[in-house]
């Protein structure tokens, strides 16, 4: 029979844990809201770049004289591939990291035979640690500290790094994929795999300007090729920036959900322990009474 004092001790320890998970949940909720806001405010820029790129591309495809931009060109054969995996720096966020890492594992398994060489680059400490424990996987750059203070410059740096390697004369990088958690809502985050390089041009079929012709004859300055040349890197950067922000919002959302259920579990545990404590206490009182009565009868 459990000692009453021990049970009380356990109740108070579970209660402490519950307070911590509750606080973490609230912090995660606040951070999630902030990350979500930031993602929403960054949307007009990304959409603007996307629209401009679509406009430039709509024309350059017609003019068959212009050569394809190297960032757009699909290389054959694709031999060296990089997978950029976005995880979180910290744990305690439910299935957030394991979902991503499981998907990454599947990607590696499925494409083992397809590509000659797959490198895994990581953003977020959890991913780095995971792949460090797997010596068979070739690890590329780890972008450290990206999520600590998420700024646009960090996306720029990743984008620049990728472009430089992609365009290097050694041709040691032919395609880049990105794997991240897409933020759908506070309870749903989808693991998303996208191709970053070669750049997949945004589709122009958007009903955003009804009644107006899709392709307008723009005048370009200095010229169309130069504008395209400037737009493509920026487009790549905005895609990475977007994925980073989605991932951060998803991380906080996942942590919020995980901490919410942890708080609830702690509550359930406290309830059942309290019941046990009361029962133990009652049993002790009953035993005592029985002893007193028995003693009185014996007299």
């Amino acid at each position: 029979m459990a000692n009453l004092k021990d049970i009380r001790k356990r109740i108070s320890s579970v209660r402490n844990t519950q307070q911590i998970t509750k606080a973490m949940k609230m912090v995660a909720a606040a951070k999630m809201r902030r990350a979500q806001d930031a993602a929403i405010r960054a949307r007009p820029y990304a959409e603007g770049i996307e629209r401009m790129l679509a406009e430039v591309m709509a024309r350059s495809i017609d003019a068959d004289a212009s050569p394809i931009h190297p960032l757009l060109e699909t290389r054959r054969p694709v031999r060296h591939v990089k997978l950029l995996v976005m995880t979180s720096d910290r744990g305690l966020c439910g299935g957030f990291n394991s979902n991503i890492l499981r998907r990454a594992g599947r990607f590696l398994y499925e494409n083992e035979e397809v590509y000659e060489n797959i490198t895994v680059a990581t953003a977020g400490r959890k991913g780095r640690d995971y792949f460090r424990r797997r010596p068979t996987v070739k690890q590329g750059t780890h972008h450290a500290g990206v999520f600590e203070e998420l700024r646009y410059e960090k996306a720029e740096r990743i984008s620049e790094d990728l472009r430089r390697r992609y365009l290097s004369p050694e041709h040691d990088l032919d395609a880049v994929f990105i794997l991240y958690n897409h933020f759908v809502s506070a309870v749903t985050q989808n693991v998303t795999l996208r191709q970053l390089l070669p750049v997949e041009p945004p589709s122009e079929q958007r009903p955003e300007r009804p009644g107006k012709p899709a392709a307008v004859d723009f005048r370009y300055e200095p010229d169309q090729a130069a504008v395209l040349d400037a737009l493509l890197p920026t487009y790549l950067t905005t895609q990475i920036w977007r994925a980073l922000m989605e991932s951060l919002a998803s991380e906080h959302a996942a942590r919020m959900t995980a901490m919410d259920s942890a708080t609830r579990n702690a509550g359930d545990m406290i309830d059942s322990l309290t019941l046990l404590a009361n029962r133990t206490r009652q049993a002790a009182i009953t035993t005592e009474l029985v002893e007193i009565v028995a003693g009185a009868e014996a007299l």
């Binding site: 629209r51 401009m52 406009e55 004859d217 723009f218 300055e221 130069a226």
Partner: protein
């Protein structure tokens, strides 16, 4: 002229402003250019410098660095890497920062990442100074 321009200024992190105005002047890569209602569709890359817009004689400005400008149907969309309102610029601070950045630019080797960072810094502060002084 009843037609007016709609100016939208957006940076990667947030939309900065959306106003109606009569005229916009922006620093294109091939020199400054002005936009009035009825402008032809136009797409260009942005240099650093002052972005002015005029509304019934009133003049307002932002210091912008890098990006793109699209003009279409009297809508001017400016996607700038950075944008700072003229009133938020402290000329003395910018001047000191510009000097500092120039000095450091001379010290680093060309072609290095630091060199690009410092030259970006020079351009940023120069653009802000130019915006205040106009």
């Amino acid at each position: 002229m009843a037609n007016r321009l709609t100016l939208r200024l957006v940076t990667p992190t947030h939309p900065v402003l959306e106003v109606d105005c009569d005229e916009v002047r922006a620093p294109g890569v091939q020199g400054n250019f002005g936009v009035r209602p009825g402008h032809e569709p136009f797409l260009t890359t942005l240099d650093s410098g002052p972005l002015h817009f005029f509304d019934e004689g009133r003049d307002d400005a932002y210091a912008v660095v890098g990006g793109f400008v699209e003009i279409r149907d009297d809508e001017v969309t400016v996607l700038a890497d950075e944008a700072v309102h003229v009133e938020k610029i402290d000329p003395e601070h910018e001047l000191a920062a510009l000097e500092e950045a120039r000095k450091r630019l001379c010290e680093v080797q060309e072609g290095l990442v630091q060199h690009r960072m410092e030259s970006a810094r020079v351009r940023r502060h120069a653009a802000r100074l130019a915006t205040v002084r106009l």
